[in-house]
Symmetry: none
Subunit: 126 residues, 4 copies
DNA sequence: GTGGTCTAGACCACT
DNA sequence: GTGGTCTAGACCACG
């Protein structure tokens, strides 16, 4: 049971997260070419405009780079990529803590919550 | 730091979270009367319709109960309230973990992130 | 499970129905004195104004009669009481059928629904 | 006839019932797109906010699903739709029986009432 | 163009 | 005075 809640994140955000995750995990490496907007749109079953936005925002974050007429590439600037990982962690942690505190949870409870959730799932690799 | 940033949650959601937090923390106890729609609207500086929605949704979640012509009250059914706390923790933790994993973080890193963030802030009591 | 829905009827309506039912079933007979407004308010745990309204509306329906300084009585006029039973049945049936049809149910299904519901409950006397 | 009479249900409820009826009767099938909020507002002559509410509540009931920027659709999850029909019947029957019993009617009388009411109307096909 | 949020303000039903 | 419904109309986020 439970209530329900927590509306889905916007698709473009989900895709940014996914791509960022792949870059962070080195599934996509500096200099790699990303799929073309159309390709990726088809691959993900999403409107091309949405992919456009994904690439545009990632470019603003400087984690990808568009080369005229050639496509979009994972940025070569390695420093940016390193900080990216920490930046994103920071951001998500902050938002989470802010929400949880508003609900009256202590940091200790949050950590315990993570541990419990983690333990409830066997096949995890970390 | 980063570029990206999370847009604010809708006001009515923020208020639900705030009230839920107050109930969870026993600042508002079972049977307590909540401020009237109009009162709370003034108090929070938002429109009465928005408060209406807050109360309506909380009623659907069964954490609040409205008595015709009398007002809105924290539900007496204590079991619901206890599970509420866990439900909400569960929900937020899950969403957080899901996001973080997509970004390639391990549970250990998430916990470390929480601890670091917590340590960076003095005046905390937990 | 299921959804939820069907908000409670207003209290004064519930009380009218209850009293009407008692009169229909001859639990309260023509000429019987009803409890005073205050008495009945205490007995039912309801605001005296609400009881006021109950008696007022029942008077308009001519099923009770107020005698100045003496109280409220079940009407002596027997004809009214006989038709009352049919009137109310008629009214409720109509409303029910109207709702059910809007939802796409046939009369046959409604009847079957009643029968099934009835069968699901042992301790019934009819 | 009587004096009493039931006040209209709120518009948004009527519209929910109507749409639910259409879905139950397969006039609208799983996957079908509902009219846009604004379209349906015009079509029904009510305010767009009211339609919003209709769609929102139907979504909570899981009989409808909204896809960001694309519209609102009859849920594909057929199981939900099947149970919906029974759920709604159940709910309405229960409420009706509860009311009628309070008024002192037996199941047999209720059924007879339905039959009579049905017979009084010619052009019915069921 | 789609749904979603919010406002300001009217009006109603119930207690 | 309490909650509840509805409107008209603005503005935003998403695809």
């Amino acid at each position: 049971m439970g209530v329900d809640f927590q509306p889905d994140k916007p698709i473009y955000q989900q895709l940014i997260d996914r791509l960022a995750g792949e870059i962070i995990r080195s599934i996509r490496k500096p200099g790699d070419k990303l799929p073309s907007v159309r390709e990726y749109a088809v691959e993900t079953g999403v409107n091309a405009n949405t992919i456009q936005r994904v690439y545009r925002e990632m470019e603003q974050m400087e984690i990808v780079q568009t080369k005229r007429g050639q496509g979009t590439f994972v940025t070569e600037e390695n420093a940016r990529l390193v900080s990216l990982r920490e930046d994103m962690k920071q951001q998500y942690v902050e938002a989470f803590v802010k929400d949880m505190r508003e609900l009256g949870f202590t940091t200790t409870e949050m950590i315990r919550g993570l541990e419990e959730y983690h333990d409830e799932q066997e096949d995890r690799d970390d």
